[in-house]
Each structure stands twice: as C-alpha cells, then as structure tokens.
C-alpha cells in the first residue's frame, strides 16, 4: 500500500490499498496532478495477524488531526474469483473499514471503495441509474457485500463507491484488460485467447480516466454527499469484433486470436450515458487504444 501526502489548503493523507491497474492510475494521478508525496508500506493480504501489525505501523505514520482518505482499489483474481477468494477480500476490506471507523474518532475520514459494474450488472444491458445489481457469480456477490459493509459505516464522512465497467490500461500487473492484452500480444507476436465471442458487448474504460476521476474526488475539499455511488463507464459499449478492428487499424500487425469454444464470459453489458456522473469524461475507445499503443511502443510500461 501507499501513504500519499497531499499538500495545499486542506492537507490530506491518502491511504491507498491495492496498486494494480486502477490503484496505479490513482497513485499516478495523485502524484502528477496534486503533487502528492508517496511512501510505501507493506500490507499483507493473507495473514490477519500480520495485517494488524502493519495497520498499527500505518497509523503511527499519520500526522495528528490530518484528514485521511482511505482508498480501496485492490482485488485478487477478478471475474473468476471463487467464494473463498471473495470472502477473504471482503474480510480484508472489513478490517480496513473498521480501521477507518476507529480513525474517525480523532479526525475526518473518507472511504473510497472500488467496486465493479461488470460484476454487479453482468448480462444487463442499457443499465440506467435505476437498474438494480443482479450479480451472477461470486465476484459480483462479493462486491455487493463489500458495498453493503461500507454502507453500514455511517460514522465515516464521505463513503464513495466507484463501479467501473471493463477497465483497460497499462500496468506491470498481469490483469490489464482485453484491449491491452490484444495490443501487447500483437506486438510480441503472441496469440490472445478470448473468453468471450466476437459479438460480446462491453463498455471499455481507460484506467487513467478512473485514476484522474477518483483522485479529484479524493482530494476535493468541497462537502459532497456522505454516501455516493459512481458508475464509471463510457456509456458506449463496443463488441469484441470492433475492438479487434480498431486495434488492427492502428497497430498494423497481425492479431493472432483464439476464441474459446466454450466461452465463460460472453454476456453483454452496457450502460446508458444518463447513468454516468455529469463530471465524468471518459476517453473514447479509439483514442484509448492509440494511447496504449503509443505507450507500449515507447517502452514506458
């Protein structure tokens, strides 16, 4: 995890748990846009007794009375998570929420939690702000339980839940999303195995957009609703076929593909633009693909 100190008028300490695709983007946005100074702390996701000692070390590093924003952007195995995986992840989050509630006795504390629109609305299309989550697998059920746990923490100041749809971006971790996997494999001449079919519809969002949006929300000193949920999708779904065509147009290399004959992830998902936050500005798929290609070609990843 990272402890980030944001200066300015309202000093803020951000405790960022999970430094994968989205966590990395939040970290970058906080450091680049808000000149946050970062310090690394170890945080074990398995060993509860170790976690306790590590939380104590983090608490000891917090300056007195400073506002704290705890941010959960972790996650272990994505869509394929089992009940046990999600149970462990939910327990980790519950411990962090308990820590936040404890900290709230001495200072203002916000909690920002990364959930998943894909997990909650799998197989639902044209989701509006009134659509109800209907998870179809342990991953979604776990995310819903995590959201419910945060809802119970009424003593906290701001409790924001972010529900991103299909995220893609560049990171050193293995989970990069379909778009980046297709580009990266094409550049290396590797075959990409796709667990959907060419007509599967998904709403792709760039991790950096989520990072910037969350960073703005985290740092924002204005009083915001105490509890809020933000759907972070582009509002424009794309088929796997379209993604492949867009990448093929730009990368000018053959895409070696293998479609799973028994795909496990074929259900469509889409979100109406009216369900998205008004101050959310997602990058278009074509621009996002170009950015990833430029980034990977430059060797910055």
């Amino acid at each position: 995890m990272k402890l980030l100190r944001v200066g300015g008028q309202a000093e803020l300490i951000v405790l960022l748990f999970g430094l994968g695709l989205i966590g990395g983007a939040v970290d970058r946005a906080l450091r680049l846009r808000f000149q946050a100074e970062a310090r690394d702390f170890p945080y074990d996701w398995q060993d509860a007794s170790l976690q306790q000692a590590q939380r104590a070390a983090i608490r000891a590093a917090l300056p007195a009375k400073t506002r704290v924003a705890m941010v959960w952007t972790g996650g272990q195995s994505g869509f394929g998570s089992s009940d046990a995986d999600m149970g462990q992840e939910t327990a980790t989050i519950a411990e962090l929420i308990a820590m936040a509630e404890d900290l709230r006795h001495e200072r203002p504390v916000d909690f920002h939690m990364m959930s998943s629109a894909g997990g909650l609305f799998e197989s639902q299309t044209h989701c509006s702000e009134h659509s109800l989550p209907l998870p179809l697998r342990p991953y979604g059920t776990g995310k819903l339980m995590q959201e419910a746990r945060l809802e119970q923490a009424a003593s906290l100041d701001r409790r924001h839940v972010y529900r991103p749809s299909s995220v893609y971006g560049v990171t050193r971790s293995k989970r990069v999303g379909l778009v980046t996997a297709l580009i990266s494999n094409a550049m290396q001449g590797k075959t990409t195995r796709i667990f959907g079919n060419p007509n599967t519809l998904r709403d792709y969002v760039l991790s950096d957009d989520i990072g910037h949006y969350m960073a703005r929300r985290i740092v924002d000193p204005d009083p915001a609703p105490r509890a809020a949920t933000f759907l972070l999708a582009s509002g424009r779904s794309a088929s796997v076929f379209e993604v492949i065509e867009r990448i093929r147009e730009r990368i000018e290399r053959p895409l070696l593909l293998q479609f799973d004959p028994h795909p496990s992830n074929v259900r469509d998902m889409s979100f109406l633009p009216s369900a998205l936050p008004p101050d959310w500005q997602p990058t278009s798929l074509a621009s996002g693909i170009s950015r990833i290609i430029t980034f990977l070609r430059s060797g910055l990843a």
Binding site: Q124, H126, S128, H130, N199, R236, S239, L272
Partner: protein, 343 residues
C-alpha cells in the same frame, strides 16, 4: 410504469440521424415513447431500450432540442457530431453507440413510422433474417419524376454493382445488433453502409409499407440534392466490386482470342490464297492492335480486380462472421400470438 427495461428481454435500439428535423423531433419521441409503453403494457419479450439521436451538425435547433428531450427521457441518448458528416456516418456513429439485440435506423421526419418497427421485428424473427428493409408500397414523394429518378438510379446501381439487394436499400431498416455493429466497425468515411452490411449477412428481407415523404410533399425540398445523390452513387461503387471491371477484363480477353483466331485464319489465307488479300500489311497491323489492345484491357482488368480486392480488404470485408439467432424464438412465439396492425 417503470422506465427500466425488463431484464433478459430482447433489447431494441433506435438510431436517428438528425440534420434538419427540429419540427418533427417531439412528435417522433412521443411516437417512440408510445411504442415502448405499448410493448411494456403488453408484456412483450422485447423492449425499446434506447433511442440514439445523432445531431449531424443540424442546421436548425435540433441539437438543443435533442438535449432537452434527453433530459426528459433517460432512454434517449444525445450525440453531437463536430461537423456535418452526412447521413451514413451519422447512422454509423449511432449504431456504434447502440447495444441493442436489434438496431432500427430511421429518418427524423416521420416518413418512417415507429409503429412499423413491430412489423419489421416480426418479419426478422419469424424468418431468421438479419436485416429487414422497409420499402415504400407506393410512390413516396407524390412526384412522378422524383420517384422515377430514385427508382432508375437504384436499378442502374444494382446492375453496376451486381448486388441483388440494392433496390431494397432504405434508411428505414432493422438490423441484428451484432451485424449492425460489426458492419459499422469496418465502415470508413467512403464506405456505403448497406453494402457493408451485405458482407456480414445474406439473410436480408424486405417489407412493403406505406411511406410518404411529408417534408418533400409539403415543401418540395428533398433531403437529397443531386450532389448528395451522386455522392451516394460514388460510395456505392467505391464499396463494391463493380461489374464494369469484370466486363472490361472479359472484353479484353475476347478481343485477344478473336485476334489470335483471326491471325490463324488470315495466315492460312495468306499462305494458300494470297491473291485474296487485296491490301498488304493492313491485316497484320489491325490484328496486332486488336491483340495488344485486348491484352492491355485484360491485364488492366486483372490489376483493377486485385486493387478492388485490396480495397475491400482495407475496407474491412470479413473472411467470416458468426451469428447467433437462437434468441429469436421467444419473440417469434409472442408475435405469432399477437396480430400485426400493419399487415
């Protein structure tokens, strides 16, 4: 009544490119809303999930009107193009923003009546069609010359491109969602959408309905100028493998073969009946010109065929495309039990 579509039902997206339709938008939205409420009330296994209005840099106040309507109805998706790109690009953008199992494209001016969507869907699901075009049952413009020109133009293009569906092309169409989005994904600025749709499916049907271009009848102003019609024709030719290329190649080959046969004949005459040839040198010159002219035409035809194949590849003509039509059954069963108001 809830605004949210029923989960698991077949979703229908409507795409409407808008250029100067301010006078018609409210009526069109009301008609679409009535249709979606009617389907909901009847418990239909399909729902109108979204209507995407694409403001193609409209010359009237359509843009602001679309935004207002989108604020009033969550199922309306407003899109604004940065400049006027034309009807086809606007339709393509709308399709790429859709996520329905079926996509309906229609004009803004109520020439295409929303209630016909049920008839289009009935035809599609009962015959496992991927595209259903609505064609006018009688003259659209109530102007003989305008209608004759339109028909003749389509016939000529059908002959040129050898596309049997071309005369059915109409902007009022119901397209299976995956086919629509795949075709829209590969369309470039100069590709004709309906030609591209034909790359992905042959299961194309047509229904005849009454349509009237009220705007043309009232104002005598058509949405299509001569320039835009020519542009349409150009895009059709550019997106197709036109017959002329093949005709040119075949004629070139025929000229070559003819010149060789003639050469054999005249050589025989020269050898055995030399007195029959009155003018010396003319025959060989004529045969040489015919042979090399034919050879040039044939080779040029082959080169152009190669070029045409490459252009189609660049345009995204697919090697294959898979489709799942298994979802049609429930809608077909329901529609079979409910009579068609537009038989």
């Amino acid at each position: 009544m809830s605004d949210a579509p029923q989960p698991q039902s077949m979703m229908i997206s409507v795409v409407v490119p808008v250029y100067c339709g301010s006078d018609y938008l409210e009526a069109l939205v009301a008609a679409l809303d009535e249709l979606r409420r009617e389907w909901q009330a009847q418990g239909a296994p399909f729902s109108l999930a979204e209507a995407i209005f694409v403001d193609d840099a409209a010359i009237d106040d359509s843009g602001s009107k679309i935004d207002r309507l989108a604020r009033e109805h969550s199922w309306i998706v407003p899109l604004h193009l940065a400049r006027n790109f034309g009807q086809h690009p606007a339709t393509i953008v709308g399709i790429l923003h859709s996520s329905g199992d079926w996509v309906v494209t229609m004009d803004e001016d109520l020439q295409h009546r929303p209630e016909v969507i049920t008839t289009l869907l009935r035809k599609a699901v009962s015959e496992h069609a991927d595209i259903v075009y609505a064609n006018p049952a009688s003259a659209v413009h109530d102007a003989a010359i305008r209608d004759w020109t339109s028909r003749s133009f389509k016939r000529m293009m059908q002959w040129l491109t050898d596309n049997p569906n071309l005369s059915s092309f109409n902007s009022f169409r119901l397209i299976r969602g995956p086919v629509a989005r795949a075709a829209a994904s590969v369309c470039s600025h100069d590709t004709y959408l309906d030609i591209t749709l034909g790359w992905f499916t042959q299961s194309i049907r047509t229904i005849r309905i009454e349509m009237k271009d009220e705007r043309y009848i009232k104002t005598k102003r058509s949405g299509y100028s001569l320039k835009s019609l020519l542009s349409h024709g150009w895009r059709m030719i550019f997106s197709s493998q036109i017959k002329l290329l093949r005709i040119g190649s075949v004629l070139g080959l025929a000229a070559m073969v003819l010149s060789v046969l003639a050469a054999v004949y005249f050589l025989t005459v020269k050898l055995f009946f030399p007195s029959d040839i009155a003018v010396q040198g003319w025959t060989s010159l004529f045969l040489a010109i015919t042979f090399f002219g034919g050879l040039s035409a044939f080779m040029l035809g082959i080169v152009l065929q190669y070029l045409s194949s490459m252009i189609l590849k660049v345009h995204g003509k697919p090697t294959f495309f898979t489709i799942d039509r298994s979802g049609d059954a429930s809608a077909a069963r329901w529609l079979a039990k409910h009579s068609d108001p537009n038989p």
